[in-house]
C-alpha cells in the first residue's frame, strides 16, 4: 500500500507532539474492569492526577466508569478527540486505528503489546497500523509502551496502577525504551525533584528518540533531557538533532543493546576493531551528548542540571569530615577533568582563624567539629569556603550524626545559602541513621540542592556539569 502522505508533508508534522502531551480530550480504549491494569486504571490515574482535559472511556460493555459516561465506540463520542490510548488485543488494533482515523484523531498511544517485539504476525500488524496512521496523518507512540506523562497538566495515563497521584512538576524530561521509567515503576511521588515529561516510546514504530529530542528541544518546561536507548533508528538524524539540542539543553543518554553489526565496521584488513558501541560513543562525543553508564544515573544525574547553576570552570572545592573521602573524591574528579581548587590565600587565612590547619586544599572539618560546638562553626566554615572565587563547584559531604537537631541545623544553613552563591553544589550525606540520612536528603532537594546516593555519583554530577558547560563555552 502506497502512503498518500509525502515524506515532506510527514516531516512537517514531525516535531509537533503537543496533541500527545497537551491534549484537551483523551479517549481510553480498553478494558474497564476494575483491576491493576488497563483502561480502568488509566481513567483512575487521570482522575486522581486531576487531568484538566476531558476523558472519554470507550468500551461496548459498559455504560459508566468512575462516574464518567462510557462510549460504545470512538465514533459515538460527540466531541473532538486529541489523544487516544489503545490497550486491546493486538488483532483488534488496526480496526480501532481506522476508527481513530475516521474520527480525525492525530495522536495515538498504542499500549497494547505483541507486535514487532513478539513474532511475525505482530510485525505485520505493526506495519498495518503504521500504514493506516501515515495515510491519516496520525502519529503513534508505541506499540508496547507504558505511555507518557506530562506533570504540568496531570496527564498521567498510566495503564498500571502507580499507587500515588501526582508527579511533581519540574524540569527533567525522561524518555526510555522501557516502562521502567513510568510512574508505576518509579517513585515519582516521593521524588524531591520534579519531572516535566516522561515518554516510553516502546517499539518506536513511529515516534522515536529523535522526535522526542526535537519536541523537548522547544518544550519550555524541560531544562534537561535524559534517555535510555536500546537502539537508534536513524544514526545520522540522531547526530544532527542531538547536536542541535545539546547546544540548548543537556542531553544524557544510557544505551544498551550493543550489536554485532558494528564489528563489520572496522577495516577488514586490521581485524574487527570496532564495535557499534564505539560508534555510538563517537556520535555522542560529536553531538555533545553525555553518556551514562548505569540505569540509576538516568534518574540521579539530571538533578545537577535541573537544580544547580552550571559551573564556570573546573575548580572543585571539597568539604569533608574525613581525609579519606577527600582523597577518593580527588581521584574520581580527575576522570572528568575537574581539578582540586587551591584556596585563595585570604580564604585559607580566614579558615585557619576558625580552626588551625583548616585552610587546606581539602577542607577537612572533622577535627574542628570534634573539639568545637559542632554546628556553631559549620556555617562559618562553609560560607567562607563558598566565598572563594578560586572555586567553581563544591562537593559537600555531610555527616548527619545520630541526632535530629543536626538535621535541622544543616537545613537552616542550606536555607541561608539558597540563591546566594553562583557555585554548583553537589552533596553526599552519610551517617549512622538511614531515616535521618533520607530525611535530610529529601528536604535538601526540596530546597533545590541535589543530594547523590554516593560519593562517585556526586563527583560525576559535577564532572558532567563542568564538561557540558565547557563545551558550551567552546561553541559560544
Amino acid at each position: 500500500m502506497e502512503s498518500k502522505v509525502s515524506e515532506a508533508d510527514f516531516s512537517l508534522m514531525k516535531s509537533d507532539l503537543s496533541f500527545f502531551f497537551e491534549p484537551q480530550s483523551v479517549a481510553v480504549i480498553g478494558s474497564l474492569r476494575e483491576g491493576y491494569f488497563g483502561g480502568y486504571v488509566v481513567v483512575k490515574t487521570l482522575l486522581n492526577a486531576g487531568f484538566a482535559g476531558k476523558i472519554y472511556p470507550v468500551n461496548p460493555s459498559y455504560q459508566e466508569v468512575l462516574g464518567l459516561k462510557v462510549y460504545p465506540s470512538i465514533k459515538e463520542i460527540p466531541e473532538k478527540i486529541d489523544l487516544a490510548l489503545i490497550m486491546i488485543n493486538r488483532r483488534s488494533v488496526p480496526n480501532v486505528m481506522r476508527e481513530c482515523a475516521t474520527k480525525g484523531i492525530k495522536a495515538v498511544i498504542v499500549v497494547a503489546d505483541g507486535f514487532a517485539e513478539r513474532d511475525e504476525e505482530g510485525a505485520k500488524l505493526q506495519n498495518e497500523i503504521v500504514e493506516i496512521a501515515r495515510e491519516a496523518r496520525i502519529r503513534i507512540i508505541g506499540p508496547n509502551t507504558a505511555g507518557i506523562v506530562n506533570s504540568a497538566n496531570g496527564l498521567i495515563p498510566d495503564p498500571y496502577e502507580p499507587g500515588y497521584e501526582k508527579v511533581k512538576p519540574g524540569t527533567v524530561a525522561i524518555c526510555a525504551q522501557t516502562g521502567m521509567i513510568n510512574p508505576q515503576a518509579f517513585p515519582y511521588g516521593d521524588l524531591h525533584y520534579g519531572v516535566s515529561k516522561i515518554c516510553d516510546y516502546g517499539n518506536k514504530c513511529d515516534i522515536d528518540e529523535c522526535d522526542m529530542l526535537e519536541y523537548l528541544e522547544s518544550d519550555p518546561a524541560t531544562k534537561v533531557i535524559t534517555m535510555y536507548l536500546e537502539s537508534v533508528r536513524d544514526g545520522r538524524r540522531f547526530l544532527e538533532i542531538s547536536r542541535r539540542v545539546t547546544a540548548k539543553k543537556p542531553v544524557l543518554i544510557l544505551k544498551s543493546g550493543r550489536t554485532k553489526e558494528g564489528a563489520k565496521v572496522s577495516a577488514s584488513h586490521t581485524g574487527a576493531l570496532a564495535v557499534d558501541d564505539q560508534i555510538f560513543s563517537a556520535a555522542c562525543k560529536q553531538a555533545g551528548v553525555i553518556r551514562l553508564e548505569k540505569f540509576r544515573e538516568v534518574f540521579e544525574l539530571p538533578k545537577i542540571f535541573s537544580l544547580q547553576p552550571l559551573p564556570k570552570g573546573n575548580r572543585l572545592g571539597i568539604v569533608t569530615f574525613t581525609g579519606g573521602v577527600g582523597v577518593l573524591a580527588i581521584d574520581e574528579a580527575a576522570k572528568y577533568g575537574l581539578s582540586v581548587a587551591r584556596l585563595s590565600p585570604e580564604i585559607a587565612k580566614k579558615l585557619n582563624a576558625i580552626f588551625p590547619g583548616l585552610g587546606k586544599t581539602v577542607v577537612d572539618i572533622g577535627p574542628p567539629m570534634a573539639v568545637n560546638n559542632y554546628m556553631a562553626i559549620y556555617s562559618d566554615i562553609l560560607k567562607t569556603v563558598l566565598e572563594d572565587d578560586h572555586m567553581d563547584c563544591l562537593f559537600n559531604v555531610i555527616w548527619t550524626s545520630p541526632f535530629k537537631e543536626f538535621v535541622e541545623e544543616y537545613l537552616k544553613f542550606y536555607g541561608e545559602m539558597q540563591g546566594n552563591y553562583q557555585k554548583t553544589i553537589a552533596t553526599w550525606i552519610y551517617g549512622p541513621s538511614i531515616p535521618l540520612v533520607n530525611e535530610l536528603s529529601s528536604r535538601l532537594e526540596d530546597l533545590g540542592f541535589p543530594v547523590f546516593s554516593d560519593l562517585e555519583m556526586a563527583i560525576k554530577a559535577l564532572g558532567i556539569a563542568y564538561q557540558y558547560s565547557d563545551r558550551k563555552k567552546g561553541e559560544a
Binding site: R236, A267, I279
Partner: protein, 231 residues
C-alpha cells in the same frame, strides 16, 4: 575531478571493488594526502628505471587486484640498494606470485622510495549500518591489532573532532614523544584525518579506506601503504 571518477568507473568496469595500492595512492595523492612516492613498473626494465628516478634505497611491491595481503606471499621487497638488487627482487617476486596465484592478473610492481621509519599510525574509514561513514584513528602495529587502541568519529569530522580523536587514544603520549623518541606532527595528522573525512563524504561509493601505516615525523606525515574498497 574527472580523473577520480574515471578510476572508480574503470574499477567497476573490470568487475572489481578493490583498488590496488597503486590506484589507491594515486587517488589519495589527488585529494592532497601525502603518500610515499610510488611509480608503477610493468617490466623489469621499467622497475630499474623507476628505481633510478626515485633514488635508492627503494621498495618493490606487487600490484595485483588479486593479491591483497602483499606481505604473505613475498609480494614486498624492502630496502633495495642498487640496480642488481632491484632486478633480482623483481624476478623473484613475479615468480613467487605467479606460482602462488596462477590466476592472478599482475599489473606489475610498484616502486617506492624506502623512507625513514616514523611513528606508525593508521587512519581508516568504513560504513556503519546506522551512522554511515565513520573514520578511525590509531597507532599502527600491535597498538591497533592487539590493544585496539583506536578512536572513532562519524564523518564528516570537524577540526576539533580530529584533534580529539588523536588525543583520545591511550598511546597519545607516544605521539607527543617519550623516552627520546621523536614527537609527531599532530597538526599534519589532523589535516590528514580532515582530508580523508572530506574525501569519503564526497564519494559515497567508497566502502572502506585504510592508510596503514602512515609514518608520522616531527615535521609532516606520509602514508606508506593504502587501500580503498568500493561498494
Amino acid at each position: 575531478m574527472m580523473g577520480k571518477f574515471s578510476i572508480f568507473d574503470q574499477i567497476k568496469k573490470e568487475g572489481r571493488s578493490i583498488l590496488t595500492e597503486f590506484e589507491s595512492k594515486k587517488l589519495l595523492k589527488q585529494v592532497g594526502i601525502p603518500v610515499v612516492k610510488t611509480r608503477l613498473a610493468r617490466t623489469k626494465k621499467e622497475a630499474v628505471l623507476q628505481s633510478q628516478r626515485i633514488g635508492f634505497p627503494v621498495v618493490l611491491k606487487i600490484v595485483s587486484p588479486y593479491v591483497i595481503h602483499k606481505s604473505d606471499p613475498g609480494g614486498v621487497k624492502l630496502n633495495l640498494n642498487n640496480v642488481t638488487e632491484v632486478k633480482t627482487a623483481y624476478s623473484e617476486m613475479i615468480k613467487t606470485i605467479s606460482q602462488q596465484y596462477p590466476d592472478a592478473v599482475i599489473h606489475g610492481v610498484s616502486v617506492q622510495k624506502m623512507i625513514r621509519p616514523g611513528t606508525e599510525v593508521i587512519v581508516g574509514t568504513s560504513k556503519d549500518p546506522q551512522f554511515g561513514p565513520v573514520i578511525m584513528f590509531g597507532l599502527g602495529g600491535i597498538f591497533v591489532e592487539v590493544l585496539k587502541d583506536v578512536s572513532f568519529r562519524i564523518v564528516p569530522v570537524s577540526q576539533r573532532d580530529a584533534q580529539e580523536m588523536i588525543e583520545e587514544i591511550k598511546g597519545y603520549p607516544l605521539l607527543q614523544g617519550v623516552r627520546g623518541k621523536e614527537s609527531s606532527d599532530i597538526p599534519a595528522l589532523v589535516e590528514m584525518i580532515l582530508k580523508i573525512s572530506n574525501f569519503v563524504e564526497e564519494y559515497p561509493q567508497i566502502k572502506e579506506l585504510e592508510l596503514n601505516p602512515i609514518f608520522a615525523y616531527r615535521d609532516g606525515a606520509v602514508a606508506v601503504d593504502a587501500r580503498i574498497i568500493l561498494e
